[in-house]
């Protein structure tokens, strides 16, 4: 077992990103799809904090602060949209969003 380096953290964050992507592609419940997106954002946060720590700069951590705030704002809007759709269609499924086709 070796002392964790930057690479270790990046591998974790990369795998987390891929897990999120898997969720976005495979899951069909809108809420779970959106949770997977949050996972992808968190992967980016982890990479930023790790870079910030190992490069000895605080820039990266400031960026994470901004990303968390932006993500919170986005979550609010996204959930409001999901609620609006559910009221209209009684569904929270990706497949049911198919009225717009040519």
């Amino acid at each position: 077992m070796i002392t964790p380096t930057l690479q270790h953290y990046l591998v974790v964050s990369g795998l987390l990103f891929c897990l999120g992507l898997l969720g976005v592609l495979a899951r069909r419940n809108l809420l779970v799809v959106y949770m997977s997106l949050e996972l992808m954002l968190n992967a980016a946060n982890l990479a930023l904090v790790a870079f910030s720590h190992f490069n000895n700069q605080l820039n990266g951590q400031v960026m994470v602060f901004f990303i968390i705030t932006v993500a919170a704002a986005e979550v609010a809007v996204g959930l409001a949209l999901i609620v609006a759709i559910y009221r209209k269609r009684q569904t929270a499924h990706v497949e049911d969003l198919s009225s717009l086709k040519f």
Partner: protein, 542 residues
């Protein structure tokens, strides 16, 4: 830096934010019980005053002082782009008067203006963090605006798709940004440009691919275009028009800036023989797919808004050519192209808006609703003719010169004309696009309308906007030098991160063939010497 300095440098943006707040407050506090039409007129009037003030503030604004390096860039090109964005926002506001998609006029105008602020900041941003925040400020109001029509189920569905795909692109972009930051140790364009080089680390390419995917979603380049047709069709038409015009300008400018100014060391080459890895071949792949898919899929469309969406994907392909040329000349041609495209698309959507209100079909307009329009409203048909022919790239309209400049810039950028194959492909797909554009015109001018032709109801403000935009397209087509000259002096500013410009002999050749068109491009790069006979003629005149 302190608050006062910041306010001084960002006065136009501050004015727009203030206007948004005033419009919201007036609508919610004073005009709650007023009739819908009055509220719309008041909100749009407040918007117009604010936007006018911001445009004036932009025209007198000084270039950014040195303390802002790495945060913001203000120069005459960004000022011009911001003014264009403001005008487009105003038109989107005017188009919404009398449309029945919402009762919440104050919120509509506020979100429209705040999205415009996001675009203005995006145009100016000089580091990764500000770029990300500005991009979010641009997108978040657009998601909400897309869902504004609560009567129509397709509006909220389009919005949710836009939102999910937008968030996915933001996540990809963020991961790319975090890698770029980690590899370079900095977040400003200058820091990125001085540290990142191709070929050293495979992870650099990963960062490039993720950043590119993020931007490809934003500009709706195939194969990341899936949201665009649904959003254009489902969103209220004024909103769709703003997404198709304003957000295109801002995203494409940022797309070009980040790759040209911040990542020049990782460009690579897309030449037919001897391509090297980097972002240029990736952009070339996107451009090829977009041009083919956008133009072919547009043929099958029955809704004009969807048709415009697919044509927008094709146009994104042409604009990507300008980015991958990776020269100052490419930047100038890109800006000319996206500005003229934005005006044209806004105009086309404005006409669609009128027709849609006229038809009042539950599923929106379709191509056949345009049948016999020339009998019902000759003025509207004439404007639509100008817009559609400009989109198709017919001289002497602005769309033709946009494509022309891009093709020249692309052809000249590669060493020994390695990019000619892309230009050939672009010309081929333009020919295909002619087919579906003529389909629209056939409906308007050839096909008879069903039943007695009734005149189309047009409001004065709306028709003034449409005619003004048609005239702009015509004037920019007849005198393209005025606009392209605006973008040339600052091209060096755009590329100040230190890039070697490739010398080109074909540029001089093109100048010989057609001095009027290529001269401004030549002077932009400083490669073409002042023509000697020009000086002799002036001497003779004296």
């Amino acid at each position: 830096m302190n608050y006062m300095e910041l306010l001084g440098a960002l006065a136009p943006e501050a004015i727009v934010v203030l206007t948004a707040l005033v419009a919201l407050a007036v609508d919610l506090l004073v005009l709650r019980q007023a009739p819908q039409n009055a509220r719309q007129v008041v909100a749009v009037s407040i918007t117009a005053v604010g936007i006018l003030a911001a445009i004036i503030a932009l025209s007198v604004a000084a270039p950014s002082p040195p303390w802002m390096d790495g945060l913001l860039i203000n120069h005459s090109t960004t000022a011009f782009l911001k003014q264009t964005l403001l005008v487009l926002a105003l038109v989107a506001g005017i188009l919404s008067i009398q449309s029945r998609f919402t009762q919440h006029t104050g919120e509509y105008v506020t979100l429209l203006l705040l999205s415009t602020v996001g675009m203005m900041l995006l145009v100016s941003s000089d580091n990764l963090l500000l770029m990300f925040v500005a991009l979010e400020l641009t997108s978040l109001p657009l998601y909400v605006l897309t869902a504004f029509n609560k009567e129509s189920p397709s509006s909220s569905e389009a919005s949710l798709k836009y939102f999910l795909i937008g968030s996915l692109s933001a996540a990809c972009l963020l991961f790319g940004i975090s890698l770029l930051y980690g590899l370079s140790g900095g977040i400003t364009w200058t820091q990125l440009a001085t540290t990142l080089r191709a070929g050293s680390e495979p992870i650099v390419y990963l960062a490039l691919i993720l950043t590119l995917i993020g931007f490809a979603f934003k500009v709706a380049a195939a194969p990341f275009h899936l949201w665009a047709p649904d959003v254009y069709q489902g969103a209220p038409t004024p909103v769709a028009a703003f997404i198709a015009s304003g957000s295109k300008i801002a995203s494409f400018y940022m797309f070009a800036r980040i790759f040209m100014a911040a990542l020049p060391g990782t460009a690579g080459s897309a030449a037919w023989s001897g391509a090297t890895p980097g972002w240029v071949p990736l952009v070339a792949a996107l451009a090829v797919v977009s041009m083919i898919l956008g133009n072919v899929a547009a043929i099958a469309q029955r809704s004009v808004k969807r048709l415009l969406a697919y044509s927008a994907i094709g146009h994104a392909g042409y604009a990507l050519l300008a980015i991958l040329s990776n020269t100052e000349q490419g930047m100038g041609s890109l800006l000319y192209y996206v500005v003229t495209y934005a005006v044209t698309a806004m105009g086309a959507f404005a006409v669609v808006n009128v027709i849609e209100r006229d038809v009042q079909a539950p599923n929106g307009e379709s191509l056949t609703d345009f049948a016999g329009l020339s009998r019902r409203s000759p003025l509207l048909s004439l404007c639509l003719l100008v817009f559609v022919l400009s989109l198709a790239g017919i001289p002497p309209l602005a769309g033709f010169f946009g494509k022309f400049y891009i093709f020249i810039a692309t052809a000249q950028s590669g060493t020994s004309q390695g990019l000619i194959w892309l230009v050939m492909l672009a010309i081929g797909t333009s020919a295909i696009s002619l087919y579906y554009y003529l389909q629209i015109l056939k409906q308007v001018y050839v096909v008879e309308s069903v039943g007695q032709p009734t005149p189309v109801q047009l409001r004065p403000a709306e028709s003034a906007c449409i005619v003004a935009m048609a005239c702009t397209v015509l004037i920019l087509g007849c005198a393209p030098n005025w606009l392209i000259n605006r973008f040339s002096p600052n091209s060096t500013e755009v590329r100040r991160a230190g890039v070697i410009t490739k010398p080109s002999t074909t540029l001089e050749l093109a100048a010989e063939i057609h001095p009027r068109i290529t001269a401004p491009l030549g002077t932009a790069t400083g490669l073409v010497q002042k023509r000697p006979q020009f000086e002799t003629t002036t001497a003779n005149a004296q």
